[in-house]
Amino acid sequence: MTYGVPETTSRGQRVLHPSPDQLIGTVTALRDDGFCTAVDVTAVDYADHPGRIDLPTGIAAERFELVVMLHAHQRGERVRLRVQVPADDPSVPSLFDLFPGTEAMEREVFDLYGVTFDGHPDLTRILMPEDWEGHPLRKDFDIGSIPVQFKDAPVVR
């Protein structure tokens, strides 16, 4: 347990497992502890995964997982936060107030996974067109079954 959340290691790398409610508190504590920059925010859709063995006891696996990477330059230390996000309420607090650099990354996660970030200043699609339907990196979004969606394109037969 670190900052009140379970800690594991993955291939020698430190991983913390806060819940969505603990996320802001944990990141704030880490920031005050010298983790000066948010390297990356991404997500994983575990819908098709055969069964996960790397979660600590007490953490229930959910469909989505938000992955946040922080870096303490002075100590040369990295830490990864893996937040379980349930499929029926894919919503987490935004880290924008702590690390403004997460803005584009959170927009990307929202765009490609449909996870929403409370408190984000401009939660709109970033890579896909504004009027796109669906979230392409979800496992149930198949390749090859997508009708081409372009604005004002005439229907060609």
Partner: protein, 447 residues
């Protein structure tokens, strides 16, 4: 100033005023937040259309939303900017990206680990070996295998040469954006020499698929040392010519100095890395601070700027080219002998000669190239210093032959967030210089 030195701007990291050991208020994001409202334009397309000014109302004419790109010569591909202008002055900016989005992270989930490098190499097409490297390092970390020393050193050699070619491309496009069109021709000319060496080694000028999980695709060709020496003799004096042409040129300096200034705290808060972070005087380079490959065995300097302006970013890249050539020169002497890929049978196919005589070898070869090798379940994040900053790969495996999830942390994508802050209050003509100094590669931004 007409000589090739610019010591006043660039200093060695050891004497830098504010490196990682001094007290920058790291946690402070307040200044970015204060500026966020005034620098970043948060406006959808539909809202922008509503703001088309009314020709009968002179007051509404003063502010306008200007669209720049995506097909503008100085936007380096397909970057599009929505600029809120007051006269010639930029107030707020919104970078609009996604025009080159081809779902490469989704594609990666349908390619085996051996096929993966062909996909990621197309992200940052100006520095493609770095993407292959970071993907291969992540896969090897999941597999838990070590690559032979010669493979590591070949990777280092090729990556440093790739950094040279990428920075030469920057010099070319940066010169062109600022009106020094002859610089464009010179930059491309020298870059082509490096690419010619790549072609000799990998078979391709770009998108090499050379660095693969387990090592590299082929050993260096005979006479590679002579080729490298010829490159070193050719490029070094040409870099001094760039100094004469650009660095000491008063018009060029005036276009860049004091344009697009960023502070170290702002750069950190915005997660900027690479030359943008170093230009603020913050000495941070993963090759030195988190050594991977064999960077702890070669000697090089981390270059930092003083003012965090466009000129510092230009000068850092020019001098980093020299540092990379210095590393390449050391590799000439330090290159070990041995295998260029791991002999782990699980990852490396049997040699061609064995396939003709052994049925098992044939089957094994077939299995590796059709099904692919299985990678143990787990997740890992690996980062390398690409010419544009921290290039990371987050790789999740479910135990199968294909990645369950492959995410590339592209430095261009993250660094693009600094653009509104750099452009705020500047002139539109300076905007071109600033986009160029951020050096985004849109293939990596959009993926």
């Amino acid at each position: 100033m007409t000589t090739g030195t610019h010591d006043a701007t660039l200093r060695d990291a050891a004497e830098a005023p504010s490196d990682a050991t001094t007290g920058i208020d790291m946690g402070s994001a307040e200044r970015v937040h204060r500026r966020d409202g005034s620098a970043v334009l948060r406006l959808s397309e539909a809202e922008a259309l509503d703001q088309v000014s009314d020709p009968d109302n002179p007051a509404a004419d003063e502010r306008m939303i200007l669209n720049m790109g995506p097909a503008h010569p100085s936007t380096h591909g397909v970057l599009r900017l929505m600029l809120e202008m007051e006269g010639e002055t930029i107030l707020r900016t919104k970078p609009v990206i996604g025009y080159l989005h081809t779902g490469m992270e989704k594609t990666a989930e349908n390619l085996s680990f051996l096929q993966g490098p062909t996909n990621v190499t197309r992200m940052d097409y100006a520095a493609s070996l770095f993407s292959e490297l970071v993907f291969s390092l992540a896969t090897e970390k999941l597999l838990g295998i070590e690559v032979p020393p010669r493979a590591t050193w070949i990777r280092m050699l090729m990556c440093e040469l790739n950094r040279v070619s990428s920075h030469l491309l920057f010099q070319a496009t940066n010169g062109m954006d600022l009106g020094a069109v002859s610089m464009m021709i010179y930059g491309w000319r020298e870059r082509e020499e490096v690419l010619r060496f790549f072609e000799k080694v990998t078979g391709l000028r770009m998108n090499h698929n050379y660095i693969r999980p387990g090592g590299v695709a082929a050993d260096l060709p005979d006479g590679w040392r002579d080729d490298i020496r010829r490159l070193l003799d050719l490029i070094r004096p040409r870099l001094d010519e760039y100094d004469t042409l650009l660095t000491g040129q008063p018009i060029f300096r005036q276009r860049l100095q004091g344009v697009g200034v960023l502070t170290p705290a702002e750069a950190l808060a915005l997660s900027a890395t690479g030359p943008i972070l170093r230009s603020t005087g913050y000495a941070w380079d993963l090759r030195r601070d988190e050594p991977y490959l064999a960077y702890d065995e070669v000697d090089f300097d981390v270059l930092v700027g003083t003012y965090g302006d466009s000129f510092d970013r230009f000068a850092i890249r020019l001098d980093e080219t020299r540092e990379s050539l210095r590393i390449v020169e050391q590799i000439l002497d330090l290159m070990p002998t041995g295998d260029y890929r791991t002999q782990d049978k699980k990852v490396t196919p049997p040699p061609r000669a064995r396939i003709g005589e052994s049925m098992e070898a044939l089957i094994h070869h077939f299995k590796i190239f059709t099904e692919g090798f299985h990678v143990p379940e787990g997740e890992v994040y690996v980062a390398v210093e690409s010419p544009r900053g921290e290039l990371g790969c987050y790789l999740v495996s479910d135990g199968g032959p294909k990645p369950y999830r492959m995410h590339i942390r592209g430095p261009s994508f993250v660094n693009l967030q600094t653009l509104p802050h750099l452009m705020e209050g500047g002139l539109i003509a300076d905007g071109v210089a600033i986009i160029s100094s951020v050096d985004p590669i849109m293939g990596e931004v959009d993926r």
